[in-house]
């Protein structure tokens, strides 16, 4: 990544935040993602129910 970032210097893709190792770990942690699965489904369902009457 460091080498990549040097090549990217002063280009658009140089500036956005890049996930750390920890962030990438939690993205694929099975237990945490099961929790996220239910939480996101709950959020989506709330939107669906609120959306039409």
């Amino acid at each position: 990544m460091e080498q990549n970032m040097k090549v990217r210097g002063y280009k658009d893709e140089y500036y956005p935040p890049i996930p750390t190792k920890g962030t990438r770990f939690w993205r694929t942690n099975f237990i945490y993602q099961i929790y996220k699965f239910f939480r996101l489904n709950y959020k989506i369902m709330r939107i669906v129910v609120k959306g039409h009457s």
């Binding site: 694929t28 996101l40 939107i47 609120k50 959306g51 009457s53």
Partner: protein, 484 residues
């Protein structure tokens, strides 16, 4: 009573399903669609990347419509006669069959209620040289997506031979929409090439008409992330950057030649970019339906907007961006000209864009059109069915059920890769779709309902939705319990 539904996509199929369920066998429901297949469009991305077969995203409608008792006519609608003609006072449509046995023959189909859910015309012609059969690819339909995968396989072979390949993904017209689908394709492509260890030879570029990345045709959004209220611009740029995808923004593609895309940017500059593989989405328009009154006079301009989409109960008075309001957006999707005609899904004319209209110094409009796909289309289809049912069964004259895009939310799940343990998904939810700056003066939307997250869970949801919506569309047990 007889209800005719034009189109068997997400909105039309949903409307027909609920109409038949609620009206039963006492009333007739007719569906007119030029294709005999239903397709679950969001999964076309996986067909275009070789992770699903065409048969997994489509099915023949005859089986489900026979079971439900819906009359299916595989035909294309040519014109609407809302007042009838010299021979009848009843509204009717003129259709032309597309099935092999009756191909080209025409028929007049009368109706008491008409639901126009014809979806968009993929307007490749708006950009010279754009589209399958010309110089670029698409994932808008299952056959486009299958062809895209065939072409991608050829690129993969060239990469394996050590040849560098330039991939260009994004919007193929200055006012195209559906950025989310193209964005998803770009990320899946990057994931696939990385998985095959070919990414060092590939250069992927995202080209978009958005003012900033993450606009997605809905003026972007703000999400709570890492202790900040962050724009989706940061969210989108971060994902592209992570997958080593470059981007060109504020760009309106105006011409494509073999291996070369011409585009104009908002600053008025004209540029080109070379490609070996380009998947660019076209602009959408209406299907160019004509409407005639009882005397045969052309009343198309009264029923349809100039872009071919149907006028409904929105506020179409032109006003500046600063004066836009969620009240401009339709609630019942009923034609103001004929109260027994409704338009559902992409077929209705939006009162104005959601993203701020921008013009280049040369006068070219470069901004995304409003997205109306997926969840809103399904919800609108259901609400239209409920309002028609109320009128038929209870004599209700004013529609009660509403589904304004200024009230309803949407979830956009962008898969990255494929597999229960390896795939990722970027989940975005917004509520409402059209920002309501009066109700939510800080962020335009309910910040607690707006989410932007990347993880395995998003991918599971995308897979889950695929099987759930195919189950629902096929009318399998308890299909009506599955929300739109």
């Amino acid at each position: 009573m007889k209800v005719v539904v034009l189109g068997a996509g997400v909105s039309g199929h949903t409307a027909a399903a609920f109409l038949k369920k609620k009206l039963g066998n006492k009333h007739e429901v007719v569906v007119v669609s030029p294709s005999k297949y239903y397709q679950w469009v969001p999964s076309n991305i996986w067909v275009g990347i070789g992770k699903m077969k065409v048969e997994q995203v489509r099915f023949d409608l005859h089986g489900v419509y026979n079971r439900w008792g819906i009359v299916f006519k595989q035909a294309r609608v040519k014109a609407i006669y809302p007042e009838g003609d010299a021979g009848t006072n009843k509204g009717f449509i003129e259709i032309e069959y597309t099935c092999e046995e009756n191909k080209g023959s025409r028929e007049k189909v009368s109706y008491d209620f008409l639901v126009n859910a014809t979806g968009p015309k993929l307007n490749f012609e708006a950009t010279p040289g754009l589209g399958p059969g010309k110089n670029t690819l698409s994932v808008c339909t299952y056959d486009h997506a299958a062809h895209t995968w065939e072409e991608l396989e050829k690129c993969i072979i060239r990469l394996k031979e050590g040849k560098r390949q330039r991939f260009l993904i994004g919007t193929g017209h200055s006012t195209a929409t559906c950025q989310g689908a193209a964005f998803e394709y770009a990320l899946n492509l990057a994931f696939l090439l990385k998985h095959k260890k070919l990414d060092h030879l590939a250069e992927i570029t995202w080209i978009t008409n958005e003012y900033e990345l993450g606009d997605f045709g809905m003026a972007g959004a703000f999400i709570k992330r890492g202790g900040y209220y962050t724009s989706t611009k940061i969210f989108a740029e971060s994902i592209l950057s992570e997958y080593n995808i470059k981007w060109i923004k504020r760009a309106g593609v105006n011409k494509v030649e073999p291996g070369l895309v011409f585009y104009e940017t908002l600053d008025g500059a004209y540029n080109t970019i070379e490609f070996d593989f380009a998947m660019l989405l076209p602009a959408f328009s209406g299907h160019g339906l004509k409407a005639y009154n009882k005397t045969g006079e052309d009343i198309t301009a009264k029923v349809f907007a100039p872009n071919g989409f149907m006028y409904v109960d929105g506020d179409y008075v032109q006003k500046p961006f600063e004066e836009w309001n969620i009240k401009d957006w339709p609630q019942h999707y009923q034609s103001p000209a004929y109260n027994n005609i409704y338009a559902a899904g992409i077929a209705f004319a939006p009162p104005h864009p959601i993203s701020k209209p921008m013009k280049s110094s040369n006068g070219t409009a470069i901004y995304p059109s409003p997205p109306r796909t997926g969840m809103p289309s399904g919800v609108i289809g259901k609400v239209v069915a409920e309002n028609i049912t109320d009128t038929i069964r209870k004599g209700v004259s004013v529609p009660r059920h509403t589904a304004s895009m200024g009230r309803m939310g949407a979830a956009c799940i962008i898969s990255v890769g494929y597999g229960m343990t390896r795939g990722l998904g970027a989940t975005m939810t917004v509520s409402p779709i059209v920002p309501d700056w009066e109700k939510y003066p800080d962020w335009g939307r309910d910040i607690h309902a707006t989410v932007g997250e990347v993880g395995l869970a998003g991918h599971w949801i995308k897979l889950f939705l695929h099987y759930m919506f195919i189950h629902k569309a096929k009318g399998y047990p308890f299909w009506w319990l599955i929300p739109e």
